[in-house]
Amino acid sequence: MRKKLLISFLLLLAVSFTTAIAQITVTGTVISADDEEPIPGVSISIRGTTTGTVTDVEGNYSIEVPDEEAILEFSFVGKQREEIVVGEQRTIDVELESDVVGLDEVVVTGYGVQRRRDLTGSVSSVRSESIEGMPVESIQRAIQGRAAGVQVTAGSGVPGGDVSVIVRGMGSFSANRPIWIVDGVEVQTGGLGMRSESESILASLDFEDIESIDVLKDAAATAIYGARGANGVIVISTRRGEAADDTDFTFDIRRGYTEPIRTMPVMSGPQWAQWDYERYANRYGADHSTTQSRIQTGVDRGWYELGADGVPDFTTSPNYDWQDEAYRQGNVMEARLTARGGDERTRFYTSLSHNMTEGHVIAYDFSRSSFRLNLDHDATDRLSFDMQVSANLSDQNSTRLGGAWSSPVRGGGGIPPVEPIFTHQAEEAGLPVGQEFDGFYNAPRSVFGAYRAHILNSAKYDHLISRNLKTILNLSATYDITDNLMYRSTFGVDYNANDEEQWYDPRASDGHVANGVLRDYETSAYAIQTTQTLNYQNIFADVHEINTVVGYETWERIWRRTAVRGENFPNPHMNVINAAADAVWWSGNETERATVGAFGRANYSYDDRYMLTLTARYDGSSRFGSENRWGFFPAAAIGWRLSSEPFMAGVDQLDNLVVRLSYGTAGSDAAGTYAALGLWSGGTQYRGTAGIYPTQLPNAYLTWEESRTLNLALSAAGFGGRVNLDIDLFNRWTEELLLARPLPRSTGWSSITENVGRNFNHGFEMALNTVNIERENFRWSTEFNLNFIEGEILELLPGEDFFSDRRKVGQAINDRNIPMYAGVNPADGRPMYYDRDWNITYNPVYEDRHWMGPEQPTRFGGITNTFNFGNFSTSIFFQYSGGSYRYFSDARFWFHGTGDRNQLATVFEDRWQEAGDMTDAPRVVYGNVFAGNVQSPNSYASHMFERVDYLRLKDLSVSYEIPAGITQRYGIDNMRIFARGSNLVTWTDYSGTDPEFTGSDFGTYPQGRTLTFGISTNF
């Protein structure tokens, strides 16, 4: 009885409490100003509170407001925001105008959202429409050239391969990758596999599930991520369900064809034969026995026939095009099915997609299956849940990779084109056939030394399979404690498993000696994140608006790998470890890391004119010594909206004009996982006794790398929302950079990691979005971004301005100190070099080296023009990059190489032949022996670097929307057909395969030129 009373009392209290704060009910309908149609899913919130609702399928809504002073905010993607004071109205109908430049777009800023116009920090956004249907596998590739301040470069064209994303330039010697947050959970990037040339676990995410991508760039934006924010933060939100009577389905199907942008320009058969002859004749003399014996080899091998004078007749040389065999036409096939819908209480978005890519290099393919379910449920007026589940399975198949001679790209370019590919060719040429498998002809080892490899043989029998499973699970509960105070709790799991199998078949060159080699790698990485936040917002006295968040987050990650190698198999079809006679190697390890952080952010705005943001985070990381485990990262930003000032009232064309200034810090725990500890490790042995060995010196002082950013920005919008301009100027100092201080080797150690370096980057970013023409049946809009960036190392080890040939004070990170090539002496064909004073020398010594750089582009960006006319629309996207110097590392093999490999055609075509020849390609001499020269033209020097500038027609698409009148007869709401081409044209002087590749060209899989056709239906 007593209990019942108590319950009744509590109930009463609860009811009165809830009713006391919701006194007025407002209802209404929201329609689109364009077509007067109702808009479902418009979010309506009471300004300064966390309370809100959404419109139903008829565009109707109902909301309870505390008093008549309340201001309702109506917002919807692609529409301009509307604010209305309730006053005496009880029914408020609203028409929303189109928002052409996204001023009122919501930007996800990390633990909260803000309207773009209210931002004090620096954030670039990519709209989902602009990347829809891109024929690429990964989100990183999709955003290339589209976001100011974000520089994306593919390391190779391998389908599903890893891509480097750098925000505002390289600032660290150790780690420059931004962190990626998907629906509030930090997800792991990079590759998990061990053997794959390039592989990215982000590629297993279907980027078409993405609603928005926001890149947080300055400290005001990233400091909330504290110790992880120094290299930028990329925040991704996936699509969510909307209330609707009928569930909305889309079905997309696409088919594409790819071919390599360019193959390596190497010599033809006759060129190679002549080059080979000349290098011997030039070295030893035409009549010398060595040359004569080489000629005999050439005749025996069918490289040429002898002419009447006993000199090889190169017109008789064969030409076997190995590269042609290495490449093929690739195919891309993709199908996606999505469904979204729900009622007012429960909404869902689900998608299922499958992508199959057959690479344009033989034996390479990629496939991905993705599934996603996003659910939102309002349990009560105050309590709601949301859940994201995604599971993605991707397979990357390939053969021998990169630098291996049996790799199709490397071997295809490198095998001398006078050597037959197939046995029948050898037979036709009258060559002895002894070594061949299945019609693939191998040159005898006695001619080409140890490199006996046949790319087709290897492609047929060897394989490398890399399978990724990526699942992100994310469950959140949100509770409105009062109208102004909201609590949110998130629990997220990011689980990644990679399964790799590399097989060297006994029938191919690499597995021949060991009678089959199998490597198995199982790698998993899972991260668990918990986040608790409290959000408070309110408006005082109409002009003081505050929006604050405080929170607490934990994150831990466990990584495991088990690997084994077996050799000697009874039968090539029995290629699992159990069938191996010898398990010859194994390995297994686990590492853990954890971070804990408490954070807070306060946004204050006075009268919509002056804005202030204060952010701070206090983070701890398991990576650092107990002395230096915790770090504090504060930031502050101010903004002044000039357009709201009375003195600007007369400028009608201006919708918004804000200047912003921010300054703050963020960190990076880029050190190794156990970098602070002194360690002895196991895994070694002597005759069966398990051994240990010292692996790391302790450094209890080890701590965060820290970046400080000063950002000055201007945002302007005007002409009825048709022009939007963002300009950012930034200075970024990264400090306490981790650097391995070299130790004298006599200590038994080579280095110890310390926090010593400093780097400075500064840059200019501009993003300009315009609607150039807007007519009844025609619209032309442009998105343009432009970036300039420069970097400089400020400090290295104390008292020293030089650390290595890649690190010098005053130079950018990764610049190179190298011998400078000066071309060829026209008198005798010898390669020349510059000495330290830029005089010619033939024997450059170390001190003659000069610095060359930067490695990273100093300017880059993109421009997209979109035209809509009637049912047609077309979009043209150019991407450009310039100012970088790339190391063309294959030049070591392909530029006057000393072996019997094919060479760049220019080595032959441009070679110095007689006195007076002006060229950069030296005389060809076997072994590169030039009297008086120590440095050989195939040694590392500046001619292996090229300045890289390029402009690329990255994407061109044309689509046609079939008139609704036709489609609706078949129950289809709308249907669009499209064709698009990617990487269509590249303007560049670069001589390697692709100017985009960072680092090197060492047998790298070239990117593809792709043509795609597709149909997208909505019903």
Binding site: S446, R452, A477, Y487, S622, S681, R687, P744, W749
Partner: protein
């Protein structure tokens, strides 16, 4: 209604719980599972045993005692060459280009630091078995002595011929006998004298002799191995009487043996058996750590057309082939220890001593010291002491065991005798432990390059700066107290 609030409370609690449980002090304490903190690693006798196993594992690495110590000196001297068609490894050695050498500085100091750690910590272990402590100390001392001896005979001038040389003071190497202290140790040691270095080596060897038992297990340092090493060190020092004493002590030691090997099969047991029939010290692999193609003698120096095994880059010089043929004609089984094959149009000769004898490609155990070396040392020492009869007796005993009992040594002087001895030694030890290079060097002899050929390289005078190897720039640039060898 109440139900509703209960669910809210549950969420709040769950959130709090997650927060509270994960903010405990332990949450940020993460330690590796494949490693142990350095302050704990050597506090048990098992830890020391493990550290010693780890040290032996490095000691037998390809870049030290396998490929490098066996082949580098053979290429630098007049024994071996690089084939015209090659994979680009060790190509500068045959012509003695600046910088071509053994390159073991970094690796060996890392190993010395381990030996220092063992010796530093072992006495603090509580309740340890005395026998094990002595055994491990003996091993660590012997290993350290061997490594300093290697450093001295590569990076310092020969003990017996410190002058005349191009320029500069004769210097030894850097002597460290304690483990590196870590981040707070910021001043680094200079090089000591050659004399100090040899004294350190001898001290360590005598210490080892005191600790080690007369074990017959040749896969680690034994009493016999230390005696043999002492003989070798005294030989390099020109201390002939001690060299002879210790060589004879090693020969007389019950664990050593000189077998009659007058045919190919018997001779092969020296190299293919595990352990080798005459091994005083051998380093042995298991299936798990056997060497690979790039770092083994076999990987570099065999060539098999059928299986594709071996780079076949290191080949025998013509001089050596002729020598092997002539000894072979007299009955020495070494005459059969090479084979010929055509590679890249060139007729090449390849050694057979390291030829994947243990059943896997490139797996051969390393013969660090064989009994016959003691006979060479004893013979040379006695000859130098003026006792030619005794010297000839040792050399003839060796010849008798190699099917050459009928080939007499007809010499009139110690000088002539040593010429003969050196020729015998070339034949017996080609492609093993770079004996030829070190012998020429320690006796101050010029390095000829055999048959003159364009690619063979020009002779190197014994006082050429390249005879003393360059100290790696990584040492010089990080240690301002370390002086580079003259000429570099």
């Amino acid at each position: 209604m109440f139900k509703k609030y209960r669910s809210i409370l549950a969420i709040l609690f769950a959130g709090l719980l997650i927060g509270v449980t994960s903010c405990g002090e332990g949450f940020l304490e993460r330690y590796p599972r494949e490693s142990i903190a350095s302050e704990e690693a050597l506090t048990t006798i098992e830890g020391v045993e493990g550290a010693l196993a780890g040290l032996y594992n490095r000691f037998q690495a390809g870049e030290y005692n396998h490929r490098e110590m066996n082949l580098a000196g053979e290429l630098l001297s007049d024994q071996m060459d690089i084939a015209q068609t090659n994979a680009g490894r060790m190509t500068n050695h045959p012509t003695n280009e600046e910088g071509a050498g053994f390159g073991i500085w970094t690796r060996v100091y890392n190993d010395i630091n381990r030996a220092n750690s063992i010796l530093y910590y072992i006495d603090d272990i509580e309740d340890a078995d005395e026998t094990l402590v002595n055994e491990f100390k003996g091993q660590a001392h012997a290993l350290r002595a061997w490594m300093y001896f290697d450093l001295l005979r590569i990076y310092a001038r020969p003990y017996m011929h410190q002058e005349p040389f191009v320029q500069g003071e004769p210097l030894g190497v850097i002597y460290k006998t304690k483990p590196f202290a870590g981040i707070d140790e910021t001043t680094f040691e200079a090089r000591g004298t050659i004399e100090e270095g040899y004294q350190l080596v001898l001290d360590d060897l005598y210490a080892a002799l005191g600790y080690l038992s007369d074990d017959e297990y040749p896969y680690q340092f034994t009493e016999a191995a230390v005696l043999g090493t002492l003989a070798r060190v005294y030989l390099y020092m020109g201390n002939w009487s001690e060299a002879a004493n210790y060589a004879e002590a090693a020969i007389d030691h019950p664990s050593t043996e000189l077998i009659h090997a007058d045919n190919f099969d018997d001779y092969m047991t020296l190299f293919a058996d595990a352990p080798g029939a005459e091994s005083i010290l051998e380093l042995g692999y298991t299936e798990a750590d056997r060497p690979g193609m790039n770092t083994s003698v076999a990987g570099m120096a065999i060539y098999c057309e059928e299986t594709g095994e071996g780079y076949g880059d290191v080949i025998l010089r013509q001089d050596l082939i002729q020598l092997l043929d002539s000894y072979g004609a007299e009955g020495h089984p070494a005459g059969d220890m090479y084979y010929e094959a055509v590679k890249g149009g060139q007729l090449c000769a390849f050694q057979k001593k390291y030829h994947s004898h243990r059943g896997y490609a490139y797996w051969d155990d390393i013969k660090m010291m064989r009994t016959s070396e003691m006979y060479f040392i004893a013979a040379e020492a006695h000859a130098e002491m003026g006792d030619l009869n005794q010297a000839e007796e040792f050399l003839m005993t060796l010849r008798e065991h190699r099917g050459m009992e009928h080939v007499d040594i007809n010499v009139d002087s110690a000088e002539e005798f040593i010429d003969v001895l050196f020729t015998d030694k070339r034949v017996e030890y080609f492609s093993e432990m770079s004996h030829r290079w070190f012998d020429l060097r320690r006796r101050g002899m010029d390095i000829t390059k055999g048959v003159p050929d364009e690619d063979a390289g020009t002779p190197v005078d014994f006082d050429d700066y390249r005879v003393v190897e360059r100290i790696p720039t990584a040492e010089i640039s990080a240690n301002e107290n370390c002086v580079q060898n003259p000429g570099y």
